[in-house]
Each structure stands twice: as C-alpha cells, then as structure tokens.
Amino acid sequence: MDKFLIARGLKRCSTGRFLLWVGPWFALLLFGLYAAGLCLVKGLNQTNMDNRFAFGLWIFLDLTVIALGAGAFFTGFLLYILKLDDLRAVINSAVIIGLTAYSGAVAVLAVDVGQPLRAWFTFWYPNVHSMLTEVTFCITCYLIVLAIEYVPIVLKNRRLKEVPSLLVFEFQLHKLMYVLAGVGTFLSFFHQGSLGGLYGVLRGRPFAFREGLFIWPSTFFLFILSAAAVGPSFVLLTTWLVEKITKKQLVRTEVLQLLGRISGLLLSVYVLAKTVDTLVWINRTSPHAGFPAAQFYGWKPFGIEILFAEIVLFGLLPAAILLMPRLRARRGLLVTAAALACCGVTLNRFVQTVQTLALPTLPFDKFLSYTPSWQEVGTFLAVVAYGVLVYSFSFRYLNVFPEERALKVQPAAPQEEEEPAYAGR
C-alpha cells in the first residue's frame, strides 16, 4: 500500500505488519499524552513530587535521554570534523536518536514546569549565573540544529526526491553539514556540561556539590565526558536492536566495533576522571563543608554499592571490554558492554537527581522517599513511545542506514568471528 514511499532497493515489512508494530506504541503515546494533559490542565498536583522532592522522574528522564542522545553531536563531530568516514553508516540514525531524545526531553520539561507559557521569560530575563539558563539556551539552539540536520534525511525520501527544488535544497543543506556539526558540538559541549552543573553548583546539597574548575563545577566536565562516552554506545545498541527486530544487517561489523572502541576510550577517561573527582569530594569537598562523605551512604537503599556499580560495574568493566579488540570482536560482549555503559550513565543521572534530593541536609531532617505517580510514569512512557515511533517511521520511509542496500546483496556477516585485522586499529 505504501510501497511508493519506501526507498528503492530496500525491503520493508508489509503495511499490515508495520501497523501491528506501531499500533501498541501509538496506544502508549495516547495514554502518555492523556497523563501529560492531566498534569497541564489540573496542575502538578497530579504528580507525587512535593516541596521537598521538587524534581522527580521527569528530570531524571531528561538528563538521561539527553546523555543517551549525545551520539548525535559526537558522531557528527567525529564524522564531519575528525573525518572518521566509517561513521557515515550510522550518522542518520544518530541524528534521529538525538532529535527524538532532545525534543522528547523539551516536551517533558514543558509539562514539568508550573507555568510553561512563561518559558520565553528565560530568553527575555536571563539570569546569566544560572546553569538552567545555559541549558535552556543551548538545548533550544541545538534542537533547531538537529531539526535542520534531520531535514536532508527526510528529503531523501523516494517521493520527495522527485521534486527538483527539494533535491537542490537537500544538496545545499549537505554543504552546511560541516558547519552544523561544529555548531552542534559547541552547543552540546555547553548544555551537557550545564546539565552536570545544575546540581554541581548547589552548595545547599553537599552530596551533589562539587568544587570548580574555572567557573564550572567538576560535574560540568564529567557530564560532557560521560555523554560523549555513552552516545556512541547508544547508537551501537540501537543499531543492533534494529538489526535484531528487522532481521537485516544494516551496517558493517567494523562500524559497530569502531563505535564500541570510541565509546570504550572515552569511558575509560570518564572513569578515571570520575574516580579522581569522587576521591577529591570524599577527602576534601564534603568534609570541608562539614559533611563527612560516609554519612551520605548510610541511608539505605543508597549505600556505597551504588558508587561501586557506577564506577566499576558500569564504568570500568564495559570500558575494558570495549577497549580490548578480542573482546569487542564478539558481538554479544560488544552489545553487553554498550548496554552496561548506557546503564552507567542512567545510574549516574539517577544519583545526581533523585538520590541528591532524598538525602537530608539539615541535621534534624529526615531521609525522604518518592514514588512517581501514574501520570508521571505515563508521561515518561509517552516519550519512549514517541521515540520508537519517530524512529520506526524514519526507518521505514527514509534511507536511515546508507549501507543497507549494499549489504543486502552480500551474505550476512557471521555473528561470532575471528579477530579481524581492523579490530586493533
């Protein structure tokens, strides 16, 4: 029925099967939109946030998806600025992931604030000292960059390519990609960092407060590093997932390994930086503020094991796997390591947001717990469904993986293979 929209030479499932796939996601999206609508119409009393747990699931979600969506800027940077041409195979996918992640995060933020119609005040009365101002400016600009980067992917659609003026427009946009990649990297550098700074500057939250390098707290740099590290891992994971679901090889194995290698390299730098930062915080920052760091880990279930999981299980271990050519040559280990890295950044954002607010600062205060309401969970699920839907439609009607057509005519690569010559490159 919709074959005239599908790119030539690409095989896609039947319309009926596609509708069966997107149907439940649409249902989830509608449910989530209803939940979000309730919060917008009736107010944030629909959530389980309160005066003490002023941030909840949504801020955690925002920080996480923006970190996972960092593959868009970092892949663009590696491809267009550092000329790693192999990554052309996944750049479209990375842009779509980035676009859905950022637009989803901004949509949730609009529900999360009490007066969304006043969002423009931040541009009109900006407080230049606030990390949130920096985040707002950079995310808004970067979302525009991502939208522009998405346009050429859309214009490659079979039907749209038949319109000569659009073809010319797409060609011209491609010339801009190097500039956009540079701008995107610059903006992403600042908003990923500012998201880390959001909590790092809070003197009133000694668990999150970090001392500064220049004008930024150390979390500013840790967030940039961690996002750059897991962005390629998430692109790898998504590509693998799409290959599994569609039962097609979409990119060459070496591209996935290259993503893994880049991720492993940055992850190891991040783990080192995070370890140094934690040691400085334990031995200097926190005690100087009058709070022995050990007291923060006395509140269960947030024990010291969370720190261990963050640095070792979800940091050191995946970094080691991704850096060793023999290990990352095994598809199972490669994907597992990428998944662990993504879990690590998710846990880190959870610790930064939820754990920070749960811990008491005043001596006579209590440890707090928080469980999100169904409206919060519904809104969260809407973002997931939105992401899956945008990606599904893009994959069906656009040429997301440029190598797919060429790989289709070759025999599929074996899953477990001997260490290839390029693995140690």
Binding site: D50, N51, G114, T122, P126, N127, R203, G204, L357, L362
Partner: protein, 228 residues
C-alpha cells in the same frame, strides 16, 4: 541601609504554631484539601526536634524555620533562570516575583533550608472567606514558587505611612512581620541586624555552607545547638 533579620530564642518557643497561622493569614495562603506536610504551603514552619534519648531523659524543642534570607551568593537567587528571585540591597530581603516565576523549582532544590514552597493547586477559598483576605498581599497562582519575604505587604504599608508623614525612613514599630507579632512567648524578634547585632551565643543553621543566613537562633541547651 537596613539588614533585616530575626533573633529566635528556641528555648522560648513552645511550638504553639501561632506564627504559622499568622503567616498563613497575612499572606493569603489558601486552605487546600489535598495538601499534606509535603505539599502544603508553610512559609514559616515549626520543626520539632528531640535529643534522641528515651523517656524520662527525652527532651524536645521547636525550631521555627523560615527563609533564612541568605546574603552570600544566595543559593535560590543564583540558580533562578529568569531572575524571579532578587535580593533587595536596601534591606537584604530575598524577594520572590511570583509573576515572573516559571515554576521550574530549581530554587527549591537549591535551598538548603527547604524554605521554598510550590503552589501545587489553584488558590481557592471557601465561599465568604474571600472577604477576610489581606488586600495588601496578592494571592499567587498555581505553578509558581513562594517563600517568606518578611511580610512585604506590611513593609509597603509602613513605607506608605512614612511617606505620608514626610519621612524617608520607616518607624521600626510600624514594620513587624506577622509571625513575630503573633508569637505569644516573644521567641521571634524581628530586627535590623545593622542596628542590633545578634547575641554572641547565637548560632545560624548550616552556617558552614557560608550562605550568610540572617536568622539567628539561641538556646542554652547544647544538644539544641548541635543542630546548627
């Protein structure tokens, strides 16, 4: 130039809550059916603390907690993305512009004293109760943050009175926040810290965070002082 603050004698506070009621009435805080201790608006809140021992050695005390009007890199003013929080250089009072507030609640996360409150519900009063609202204080709408501002309505009234009398300075007797006025035991005293420095044995909550709070507490009991 003023530097308004408070001296609060914890040993005098008996936890009656008159200050909380006076604050709510003065600032037109609506009664909300669904509000609890974590979602209600209490710009002044009395915490009960104890010495951690069992009966008969157990001792309790009450700490009236309100915005500490931090003077050094005021955490909430520092983080507000759209300058809805300001520190008045003339008085040192940390103000909150509800009309400009986005409701992002970043300031609430930043406040070490948990002295900021979000309007989770639309402000509504039972029929007839509107007549008792304070005309000097505008009710805040749903979705914005609010806090203690040392009863700015009373300050404006005092300034108008002074202006009408041809004076530039307000008479200290004309400007006393509702909580200090209502406290039956005299535990809360509103002062200009420039004119009346805090007693030497007073302490401030979380002073080690270096936010320069302007609420000074006093107690003769060591276990109470340890809560500083």
């Amino acid at each position: 130039m003023k530097r308004y603050g408070m001296h609060i004698d914890i040993d005098r506070c008996n936890g009656c809550g008159a200050c909380m009621v006076a604050c709510a009435v003065e600032n037109n805080i609506p009664p909300v059916a669904g509000a609890d201790d974590r979602k209600g608006i209490t710009p002044l809140r009395v915490y009960q603390i104890d010495n951690g021992e069992a009966y008969p050695n157990r001792r309790t005390a009450f700490i009236p907690m309100l915005c500490q009007q931090c003077g050094n890199e005021t955490p909430c003013a520092h983080v507000c993305p759209q300058q809805a929080v300001d520190v008045d250089p003339e008085t040192g009072i940390v103000g909150q512009m509800a009309e400009r507030c986005l409701g992002c609640r970043y300031c609430m996360a930043a406040c070490p004293y948990h002295a900021r409150y979000f309007n989770w519900w639309d402000p509504k009063w039972p029929a007839g109760m509107e007549a008792a609202l304070n005309p000097d204080v505008a009710p805040r709408q749903r979705g914005v943050v609010e806090k203690c501002n040392f009863c700015h309505g009373r300050r404006h009234a005092a300034m108008e009175k002074a202006a009408a009398a041809g004076k530039r300075e307000i008479d200290p007797a004309d400007y006393v926040p509702a909580c200090a006025e209502a406290c039956p035991s005299g535990a809360i005293r509103f002062v200009d810290l420039n004119a009346q420095a805090a007693p030497a044995d007073s302490f401030r909550l979380l002073e080690r965070l270096d936010t320069d709070p302007k609420i000074f507490y006093r107690s003769k009991k060591d276990w109470v002082k340890r809560n500083g």
